[in-house]
Symmetry: C2
Subunit: 217 residues, 2 copies
């Protein structure tokens, strides 16, 4: 039984997505004792920006005719998909940045999708497995807020993980993580506290469910 | 009078976004003769994935206390914003990839937004200037199609360029660029031809308008 955990926060100290993912992981471990965790830290160790275009150009070429950079890009894609294929469950901790998706997560997804095991309509490495997506936002883009609709990340992440990779996904969201950091948001301190407490509760619940799901399977 | 042109296609031969941007540029040049073009090719020369997190950590530090990688990341951000600040008009040619934004364009935007001249609410380097966004999609995610809503890129690009950078933006879109490449889409050959012809017409019009706008200004 194994969990694949991916982090995309560019911070370690003070990272809310990492803290919430720790809660998911801890509760997953308690529900599935003796299990192993494979980690991929995109925030601290980003995938190079030329890997995906190089892998794309590599595929039409016969294996023996590939250049060294092409072989290297294809091997990296393959090792990323090995991590996904070898896991029973997933934990993705990916913050929103600049109202959109983490550049490091998009770079990762693009490269992963060059591997034949993640071909459209099959995604055999990930299909049908359970996962939790933890995502956090510095502001608050919920319905009724002044910036409603400015979260352009979550819908794409769900699209890829649920509709393309066919992961059975639960999502834990925590808004207003910049409250306490940006003084302009001080009026929202109580609300931010409640949101954080609720997200922590959900993270524990989802972690337990993820562990139980695999125990039951 | 100068145009800043950015390309994010990972291909050169057969790139529809580059071909449409060429039409915009050609017609801009005719409307604004003697003008110069500054180019940034993210598809062929991606921004490194560690530049943005390094620049983020650099800003709180006093300039004299920055590490060499921090100085390098801040200098790169500054040179990108110099290109934006020095232009009178913009042309962004950015395809959709994997139902989302180009990883290379997101990486670029994140780094640009670390520079004080692109601070939220001001974006003094770009505010009020005219621009054209050319975007292309291999499939078709328009209303009424089976994958309606799968374009998760255009809304975010408009958000950044219009609402955050305050560019006066026109958008030229071309769907179904994989028709003729992917045999499963052969039934849409006539429709794809009409879409392409219409996009080319729009690209010429927008190029002329962009050039005239600056002549008139």
């Amino acid at each position: 039984m194994s969990l694949f955990r991916l982090d995309a926060s560019i911070r370690v100290d003070g990272s809310t997505s990492r803290a919430l993912a720790d809660l998911v992981e801890d509760n997953w471990s308690k529900a599935a004792p003796g299990s192993s965790v494979t980690r991929r830290d995109l925030g601290l160790d980003p995938i190079p920006g030329d890997a995906w275009p190089t892998a794309v150009t590599a595929w039409p070429a016969p294996e023996a005719g590939r250049t060294a950079p092409q072989r290297s890009a294809v091997d990296l894609a393959s090792s990323l998909v090995d991590e996904l294929a070898g896991a029973d469950a997933y934990l993705f901790a990916v913050p929103l940045y600049n109202f959109g998706v983490s550049q490091h997560f998009k770079t990762y997804v693009d490269l992963v999708m060059t591997d034949p095991r993640m071909a459209p309509d099959t995604a055999s490495a990930t299909s049908g497995k359970p996962g939790v997506l933890v995502t956090v936002q510095g502001g608050n883009y919920s319905p009724g807020t002044p910036k409603e609709g400015w979260d352009h990340a979550t819908a794409w992440m769900r699209r890829i993980l649920e509709d393309v990779w066919h992961v059975e996904l639960d999502v834990v969201t925590c808004e207003f993580t910049l409250v306490g950091v940006n003084p302009a948001l001080d009026a929202f301190t109580d609300l931010a506290d409640r949101i954080r407490t609720d997200a922590e509760h959900q993270a524990r619940e989802r972690g337990r469910a993820l562990g139980s799901h695999r125990v039951a399977a």
